[in-house]
Symmetry: C2
Subunit: 341 residues, 2 copies
């Protein structure tokens, strides 16, 4: 074991070390490469990714992680563009956006590429935008966004925005990897129309009514009062900071400072009462559990021989030539057989 692990390090370390150094120096290309490495499902890549995360971890954590959700059409992309520029120019932040790829099937966002989607922010030297391939059941948030966050932080970004497509599971995922969960809303669309489930409102650390401009401004103000009243009926937030509602217009860059104040107030309270750190520790634990599951998926179900055995046995099971439990045992035996001895 010692030998094997030594050999692996001898081969892999140099490249990963170079990549890590470049990421720590703030190199965007290296950061992109690192994220791609972490997203890979190949066993070899996973090993390199682990080395990379290991090096970057001590340089991470020094940021605010903001999750953003809202139904399609609420203006998430425009808000992130507008708010990102505000954070860089007025709050002197360095902003990384882990965005959902709008070309994916599940998202109903712009069909244009991501670069045109966040026009100004995407070319800003203090912003990094990473569209994640919207693959699998999580509807846009890839399994490795947690690792992407670490890498962005190691590269010097102090504000990480994680966007969800707003379909069930992805919101829970994003909530579980961010410090502050922001729900974007529209005025006058009605809760049902917006697909807002009570569960999502309960998850939010703050709510923002977007498109508060022109004739819609009055509606937005009324909606703010209504949602604020509704939030009072909810059980007290575990964070100790009761969720607030603000209005803004991303398009007109109106009230973006209110959006920021929502987040700033929350941070002040939760960093003082210890919830901020407690939540991050809990998130690390959840990440660990997910990583164990990932190990199983990659090492066991990613194994070609195992995959072939499964599809073969599936037919046998359907034809009742073998019991499902016995077949499952054979799958595991096949896996053990493929291990180097």
């Amino acid at each position: 074991m010692q030998n094997k692990s030594f050999k692996r390090k001898k081969v892999a370390q140099p490249n990963v070390k170079t990549l890590a150094d470049a990421i720590l120096a703030g190199n965007f290309t290296a950061l992109s490469k690192g994220i791609t490495l972490c997203e890979s499902k190949k066993v070899e890549d996973r090993k390199l990714a682990n080395e990379l995360i290991k090096i970057c971890l001590p340089h991470s954590g020094n940021s605010i992680r903001i999750g953003i959700t809202g139904v399609p059409g609420v203006g998430k992309s425009t808000f992130i563009e507008s708010f990102g520029i505000y954070l860089i120019e007025k709050q002197h932040k360095k902003v990384a956006v882990l965005a959902v790829d709008p070309s994916s099937k599940r998202s109903r966002g712009s069909i244009l590429g991501d670069k045109t989607r966040m026009n100004e922010l995407s070319v800003h030297p203090k912003a990094f935008i990473r569209p994640s391939p919207s693959s699998g059941s999580l509807g846009g948030v890839t399994h490795h966004s947690r690792e992407s966050i670490i890498l962005c932080e190691a590269a010097g970004f102090d504000t990480i925005i994680v966007e969800t497509v707003g379909v069930g599971q992805s919101e829970i995922e994003v909530k579980e990897m961010t410090d502050f969960f922001l729900l974007l809303m529209l005025a006058g669309a009605g809760d049902e129309l917006q697909g807002i489930k009570r569960g999502i409102m309960e998850m939010a650390d703050g709510m923002l009514i977007n498109k508060a401009d022109g004739e819609n401004l009055l509606n937005a103000k009324r909606a703010k009062r209504e949602y604020q009243n509704a939030l009072h009926l909810f059980p007290a937030a575990e964070s100790g900071s009761s969720p607030k509602v603000e209005i803004c217009s991303a398009l007109q860059a109106f009230h973006l400072e209110k959006a920021w104040s929502l987040i700033e107030n929350y941070l002040n309270i939760t960093q003082q009462n210890g919830y901020f750190e407690k939540q991050r520790q809990g998130q690390l634990k959840a990440w660990f559990n997910k990583s164990i599951q990932e190990q199983v998926n990659v090492r066991l179900f990613g194994n070609t021989a195992v995959k072939e055995k499964i599809s073969l046995l599936e037919q046998q099971v359907e034809q009742r030539n073998i019991s499902p439990t016995e077949a499952a045992e054979q799958v595991f035996e096949e896996f053990l057989r493929t291990l180097p001895r």
Copy 2:
């Protein structure tokens, strides 16, 4: 490998063979023992259970598997008691009931033991009642109810009733292991009061309004019409047999033949159009997938060394001494280390 597998069989086979023979001869005690074996999570027991299922599988399948759900208070136990007796006495069936243990936390059923719960049926020589420990996330239906069904069929039971506690996941589980899914309802309680989600109604192959007696009879008749109309709005059933609604009173043994006709009509249609067999094949495949997951849970996460490693690493992860992904890799390495070489 050959040797090991041979050795295992040499030790285990005789006992399992004896047990299987007794089950096939219809011995109730052996059947109970067999089910207990299948419910065990110990690796040794799992091996024996697999042998047992392997022997019994060719003798299984020759039954009707009926899933029954409904909210607490709808009278599931009384219905199963009453309907079970009807099936035995009027339809000459042999009935096995895989019931939920009413003493469990999640069930709000009788706090009396299962034996007093189904008074007459539990002592009937043509009935077998097995209360399952209501453990874990499935809310009463144990993971191995599929295997219990096989054993009951091998023991000669031609009607298998699987009862759910009516909490989300367990209904899906039961639907996935039965031929006919019966939803028990009450008249006049209102859909919301009964906790009936649209999804559950869509899962039902038939609905039965219980407690149609005394002053409640008229209500029940009206409810029957209403539910039947509601069912017309649903998309056509995949089974080719559109769900019907009947009324009955389990307490007064009234209209139990209507309950039976619901099931009989469904069977006639689905056995002719091939859906019955198609569904059973799909269920075998689903069982196979669950069994593979079970293998992982038992062999990997059931391993003591692995469990200890996980709890040790969890602390390290929370203290940020190790990255969650790297820790997960170590969990898997620990598992590989424990394998006999």
